[in-house]
């Protein structure tokens, strides 16, 4: 049985739907990341799942129990869904222990549970510290422990890392990932950071303008995107006009390229070829076919723009070991296959 199942859900404010026809299922103990730009309806979806908004159409089923539909709604306090908001959401008048124990005050084993969670989040020595004295990362760990205390069926994380310094984020991501695994918790996390979504999630949903435009395993969505929008939201891409040449190649201004979606292709069909910058290499000792126009240093790698002799501009990524000077000639070719999207699929 899936932990949560959402069917044809629409919801919004003042009779105006912000999210439309959302449908997905999530298995137990999985972490789903919902990725989308701001205003795409992620937070509205989260509020509807938590029970703060009544759907206009559709339903939400939690472990087989219907919790939301257009006609009935179990109130948030009876759903057993935990919520970890963006930032500064700890109760300022309570210390760390009391914050974690807030939802289990009537539980006779509350003390033991609080101690257990303090241990899980590695903050036993902060039991009696006030939230104001904690760092941003510590605050978010306490907020997670507070949501976990009543052993919820599902945890909702609303942009949990946005307020943290970049240097802290990766660490926090790993921490929260392992806490969720350790406690076997099903979770849905909302984020606008593609790196965060890809690194954390078991399942990934991509939202745009109130719709889920892609749903699946992060690696699959990254490598085999079904639309330009999805490909773009998950990272840098080269978008090149193409015509199918054989059942596994396309012809473009970048030459003849291999595609991953062989078998789906009709020779002669025109469309778009999508190639990630890391699938392209600069080869030494070859006859040059391109000119370097720009090089952006990113530390671990560099993003290099080249103008092919055919006129199109291609972006490629390479480890930072050679300095590329604008104007220099080089030889550029794809070393891995890309995705071909027929014309019809360019706009979802």
């Amino acid at each position: 049985m899936s932990a949560i199942s959402i069917q044809g859900l629409s919801a919004g404010y003042c009779d105006e739907a912000v999210i439309n026809d959302i449908t997905f299922e999530l298995a137990e103990k999985q972490l789903l990341a919902i990725l989308g730009p701001s205003g795409s309806g992620k937070s509205t979806l989260l509020k509807t799942i938590a029970g703060f908004l009544t759907p206009m159409t559709g339903s939400i089923t939690l472990e087989g129990v219907l919790v939301s539909s257009a006609t009935s709604r179990i109130p948030p306090e009876k759903r057993n869904i935990g919520l970890v908001p963006q930032e500064g959401s700890l109760f300022p008048h309570l210390d760390v222990s009391a914050n974690i124990g807030f939802g289990i005050r009537r539980n006779p084993n509350a003390r033991a549970r609080v101690d257990e969670l303090l241990e899980i989040i590695g903050m036993t020595e902060f039991a009696h510290t006030r939230p104001q004295e904690l760092s941003g990362g510590q605050q978010q760990r306490v907020a997670l422990a507070r949501a976990l205390a009543p052993k919820p069926k599902l945890i909702l994380l609303d942009e949990p890392f946005t307020a943290l310094d970049t240097s802290l984020r990766a660490q926090m991501r790993d921490d929260i990932r392992s806490i969720l695994t350790l406690t076997s918790t099903t979770a849905i996390m909302v984020t606008h950071d593609q790196e965060e979504a890809l690194a954390t999630a078991d399942q990934l949903a991509i939202m745009q303008c109130g719709h889920i435009i892609a749903y699946g395993v992060p690696l699959t969505l990254y490598n085999n995107p079904k639309s330009i929008a999805v490909a773009q939201l998950l990272g840098e891409i080269n978008v090149i006009p193409a015509v199918v040449e054989s059942d596994n190649t396309v012809r473009t201004d970048f030459g003849v390229n291999l595609t991953k979606n062989s078998g789906e292709l009709n020779p002669g069909e025109s469309g778009t070829f999508i190639l990630r910058p890391e699938a392209i290499f600069i080869e030494e000792n070859q006859s040059p076919n391109a000119t370097i126009i720009d090089s952006l240093f990113h530390g671990h790698d560099s993003l290099i723009s080249v103008r092919m002799d055919s006129g199109i501009v291609i972006k490629l990524r390479e480890p930072t070991h050679v300095t590329r000077t604008p104007g220099a000639r080089c030889s550029v070719s794809a070393t891995r296959p890309g995705m071909f999207l027929p014309q019809a699929r360019i706009n979802p």
Binding site: L46, G51, N80, P85, S89, F91, P150
Partner: protein
């Protein structure tokens, strides 16, 4: 999740708030009905009387003079306090709010007791300025202290001299605070009854009261009260406009640069100290010394301690009751306004602020008419008097409750709900609990103000129910200055208790700002 939602407010909260707002609007509505009942010809004849327009001239003139004087006193005072290492800076900071604890009629009485025969427009202007200038000074202090001098530094780096840079940046940022304070002073002057009555200035409130007492001319009182309300509304909308135009801007992220006080040269130290001493002597020293002198001289009749204690107790409990009602009325409105931004909610909030435009004498008059005509069993009852205080001072409680509730992120209540708390319990254990101090401060402020309230108390009190204010009033009316002194002092002492609690809150918040700076 966003701070304010477009979501619909819970029905119960919405209608609860609407009901509270309606209660606040009763006096205004009833006044309108009463004026309407006077008939057109009657209204026209009152409006065309020379005397009516003399009254308008006197009240407006008094307001203009007092506001101007308050602003002229407050700017240098606030600058010295926030920007220089003035000798005894902390002491002057602590005493900044004290003049507010002295009711206008106590100050007026003290001056008259010191200089018998003192009266008229300029005497009233002096007394009213001395007791109300902190309304400008306090918001100005807060504004200047928290002003982001980063802008001023930018202006200087662009080649402006220090004074020019100040006027171009920080001064402009402080205008809304000064305007808000000026509004309070102007409303204070317009609605003041005690000082103008004692100093025999024929301002609105005194004329209304005289007409009301001369019971044959009640239409005149109602029409004048209506004009006073219109004046107050004009003032409030002028201030709204001024505030709208000079919206304060600060980029969202980043830390504001807080002023570091500069040392003063010895000459300037002496001069500024003299400035502070002069203000303190006029606003605090003379009233208190005059009262003590009168007290030590005694009066022909020995002081009746039982009577005094009775008045103290009455004052304390009736004002506390008014404060409790005010907080109860304010809470649903504040909770609604803090969390749900919709047109209907802001209408409810605006109606609740009608107390701002209703001087005590108007509320008194309106509730007298209402109780005599519609609910006779409430006429001259404690409940009516407490409700009058609550409606009159609702804006104070509402402002405090709303701003402290607004500071609590709504996510907290949502988290509590997901942890199994019903909406009401979630609100009580998060927003309600966290903003308790702010809400209580609002209540305390209402109590403090209600203790000093004179005109509504005079008109609405049950027969034989004496408060410190009414006892003081009846003695000064008989020119029994010696006998009035103990009541004046008792009032100052009693009012000092909530003032002290409030200013402690003010100072702790200052400490916190200093630490975080």
């Amino acid at each position: 999740m966003q701070n304010k939602s477009n979501a619909k407010a819970p029905l119960l909260l919405f209608w609860g708030a609407a009901l509270c707002a309606c209660i606040a609007a009763i006096p205004l509505v009833y006044l309108a009905i009463r004026i309407g009942g006077a008939g057109v010809s009657e209204i026209v004849s009152i409006l065309t009387r020379m005397r009516t327009w003399e009254t308008v001239g006197i009240s407006v003139g008094l307001a203009v003079v007092v506001v101007t004087a308050s602003v002229l006193i407050s700017y240098p005072t606030a600058l010295l306090l926030t920007r220089t290492q003035l000798p005894l800076r902390r002491f002057w900071f602590t005493t900044a709010a004290l003049p507010l604890a002295i009711p206008s009629y106590v100050a007026a009485y003290a001056w008259v007791a010191l200089i018998p025969g003192m009266n008229g427009f300029w005497a009233a202007a002096l007394v009213l300025t001395a007791v109300s200038y902190p309304y400008v000074l306090l918001p100005l202090l807060v504004s200047l202290r928290s002003a982001d001098i980063g802008l001023e530094q930018v202006a200087r780096s662009l080649g402006e001299k220090s004074t020019a840079a100040f006027f171009a940046t920080t001064f402009r940022q402080s205008i809304p605070a000064a305007a808000a304070g000026s509004l309070l002073v102007a409303l204070y002057v317009l609605s003041d009854f005690g000082a103008v009555a004692l100093l025999r200035v024929d301002a609105f409130t005194r004329v209304i009261y005289t007409s009301y007492r001369a019971s044959f001319d009640r239409s005149n009182a109602a029409v004048l009260a209506g004009m006073l309300v219109i004046l107050a509304v004009i003032l409030i909308s002028l201030e709204r406009k001024a505030r709208g135009r000079s919206l304060r801007f600060r980029a969202d992220k980043g830390v504001a640069l807080i002023t570091v006080p500069k040392p003063l040269t010895p000459t300037y130290s002496v001069l500024s100290s003299l400035w502070f001493i002069a203000i303190a002597v006029i606003s605090l020293g003379i009233p208190i010394i005059s009262l003590l002198v009168r007290l030590s001289q005694g009066s022909r009749r020995p002081l009746d301690w039982a009577e005094l204690m009775n008045a103290v107790v009455n004052t304390a409990w009736i004002s506390a009751l008014g404060a409790v009602i005010a907080v109860l009325l304010a809470l649903p409105i504040a909770a609604l306004a803090a969390n749900f931004r919709r047109k209907s909610t802001s209408t409810i909030e605006s109606i609740s602020y009608s107390g701002l435009a209703l001087p005590g004498i108007v509320i008194g008059l309106s509730l007298v008419y209402l109780s005599m005509n519609s609910v006779p069993f409430l006429y001259q009852s404690f409940v009516l008097l407490a409700v009058a205080y609550a409606v009159l001072f609702l804006p104070k409680s509402l402002g405090a409750s709303r701003s402290s509730l607004e500071a609590v992120p709504p996510a907290l209540g949502q988290v509590a709900q997901t942890l199994g708390y019903s909406p009401l319990r979630a609100w009580l254990s998060t927003s309600g609990r966290i903003s308790l101090q702010g809400i209580a401060a609002g209540g305390l402020l209402v109590m403090l103000t209600a203790m000093k309230e004179l005109p509504a108390t005079l008109m609405l009190r049950p027969t034989g129910f004496d408060t410190l204010a009414t006892e003081l009033w009846s003695r000064t009316e008989l020119a029994a200055f010696g006998a009035a002194a103990p009541y004046a002092l008792a009032l100052i002492v009693l009012a000092a208790i909530p003032s002290f609690a409030l200013s402690r809150g003010f100072l702790t918040s200052e400490k916190e700002t200093m630490v975080s700076a």
